[in-house]
Symmetry: C2
Subunit: 381 residues, 2 copies
């Protein structure tokens, strides 16, 4: 198949692009390298020394498969975006081209506005161009578990839709799961979802929306093939996700920073599983009668249990900090992931072995840590 | 009170601004005059000869009350927007500054993108600036009945929220009414609503979202006070709403153009009632525990009955045209409007007398009609 990966230079996008190329697909990465620009803005870095996109693509073509790159801001350069889709004529597009950090989206009015404007325009521009060029192109969008809110207030979280009965009329209905976004970033994914729903219903475009959990890990089978293919590793207070941050902290002997009581539960997925789920979603185009929603997660993890586990493995202590987020101290979370399993997904669970693999990365690159960037300082209010 | 009316030069915005000024409020109109620019783009016009905004404001200050004007594109000039809010320090803002025609939003990719980008950024910029400047400012947003979809699939349409039972757990919940937008324009109002919900829940900003029906009529008590205060009257295929279009057609002997079977039912409100509802909403700030939603409608009207009534009054025949919209041929609609009634709204129903008043306008300005613009040509797909 021919596949455009929007945002294919980022943490998830790069791993997914390589996995798709490895399986014989022709991949075009479209990216404006905004994730690298945000490193500059925040004076932070990837723990791993990532190569330039040109080097990455050159090595990927030698060692993996057919990948090309186009520098483009899809939120702002609509005509070029449409031309790229028109000339490449993909079977599917995978859309990672959004600002993806909840804390970053809450820093100040500048980051709020950038996140809303960039994410909304990027998603809409892709759908508008597909409606214009070829409505048979399959849109695979990266959503987030955060659209559901962080609890199982309605029971186990189903995949996108909820079966209800209207109290006044006793009529039954299947509705889009009532959104409860917890940050500006999560809000953009709610808004995205309604755009995808409308383009599906009015123009009959096939859409898969993947509501993804927190991603951990660094390397996949493909990124491991050459040092110049190495994936990025975020550990800073805004972009670092919890497992990777704890493991990096353990490596340098920094206390594990738990926000609030640690009573939060989160849905998790390993970076290799993420790439595999993207491949499975792309290779199984849904019909266009309804937006297909999958919960892209392997398991749910209680943060205190995770911190204690890493603490006991490494001997590093735990420190409890004021929670900068506006969220409940404790939450339960039960999530269905039957959809991806039904098309072949075999979840990888958090294990000592895999965590060791991450720690090998943090061990090798520990000298690159900017210690001042570890603590989350962005307040939600 | 001090009130900013964003989009205060438009059809509803102007009438609302005058009503507020008449009741002693100090009004600042902020507008980029985009509605006038779209007339140029579409080579159409207001049937009534509207004065320039400077003339309007000058006469309004002589005859009605305190109104000023600031030319500003709030979707693009954020820093100026924040400065205006900071220096005027309103008690409330009323937000009409959105592209408001469903057909226009479906013309082509240009209008789709303009509607999404303009409406989303405008609404978000206002909320972001309120969060920054003063979270006690009350946001009054013009939504649309179209967020609910055009039927009563769940029974009578309540005001924003729906009481349900989750089938799997039998838990009860009150949820945001599941959206079912029928155009890109309606989609933006769905996206707006979720932004308003988030700013309410995270920053505690008081919000009223008015889900408005189709507006008809031209003049209000205030716009009638001077010819230079006259309100705009849209009759073209994209911006003209059904009652006004029928009445203008009747005046010039053009057949009444019914789209599809005419089996559609729509919620309606007179322009004077609209202005009154805005005043009532502004003067009754809700608490900040929840977004307050009112259905801003007077009655529901069946389009065939409406066409037959105007036909029998005027002798002009009815012509049935292919429906350019992607919608059901027939729909029922029952809508609650108890919220606005509970704070003093007394609905004005469609009556021969009021329709005569509109026909006086069409009679006086019939020479200004551009006949080629009457027929709706924008297809939904």
């Amino acid at each position: 198949m021919k596949i455009i990966v929007f945002g294919g230079d980022g943490f998830c996008g790069w791993a997914a692009a390589l996995r798709l190329a490895k399986h014989g697909h022709e991949v075009l990465i479209v990216d404006n390298l905004s994730r690298r620009a945000i490193d500059l803005e925040l004076s932070t870095n990837s723990l791993t020394p990532i190569a330039t996109i040109e080097e990455r693509v050159r090595i990927a073509n030698e060692k993996i498969g057919k990948i090309s790159f186009n520098f483009l801001d899809i939120a702002k350069e609509y005509d070029k975006l449409r031309d790229v889709i028109q000339s490449f004529l993909p079977d599917a597009v995978v859309h990672f081209a959004e600002q993806r950090s909840a804390p970053y989206s809450m820093i100040s009015e500048d980051q709020r506005r950038y996140t809303i404007d960039n994410n909304t325009s990027a998603t809409h521009n892709i759908m508008s161009a597909i409606a214009e060029v070829d409505t048979s192109i399959h849109m695979v969008h990266l959503g987030t578990m955060g659209v559901y809110g962080y609890d199982d207030r309605f029971g186990e979280i189903p995949e996108g839709y909820l079966d209800i009965t209207i109290n006044s009329t006793k009529k039954s209905a299947s509705i889009i799961y009532p959104p409860a976004p917890g940050s500006i970033y999560h809000l953009t994914k709610v808004m995205d979802h309604f755009m995808l729903q409308y383009y599906n219903s009015n123009w009959g475009i096939s859409v898969t929306d993947l509501h993804q959990g927190v991603v951990w890990g660094t390397q996949t089978e493909e990124t491991r093939l050459d040092e110049l293919l190495i994936n990025r590793f975020d550990y800073d207070g805004d972009y670092g996700t919890v497992v990777n941050r704890f493991l990096m902290q353990a490596t340098i002997g920094h206390p594990l920073t738990v926000h609030g009581s640690g009573g939060q539960t989160r849905a998790m997925i390993h970076i290799g599983d993420m790439a595999e789920c993207i491949r499975l979603a792309v290779e199984s185009k849904p019909n266009n009668h309804k937006v297909r929603v999958f919960n892209q997660i392997a398991e749910t993890v209680h943060l205190n249990s995770l911190a204690r586990k890493i603490s006991s493995l490494t001997g590093v202590e735990i420190t409890y900090m004021e929670n900068p987020r506006n969220e409940e101290n404790e939450n339960n979370l039960m999530v269905s992931n039957e959809g991806l399993k039904s098309i072949g997904f075999k979840p990888t669970l958090l294990s000592d072995e895999l965590m060791n693999e991450v720690q090998e990365i943090t061990e090798v690159y520990r000298h690159r840590v900017i210690k001042e960037k570890i603590i989350a300082t962005t307040k939600w209010k």
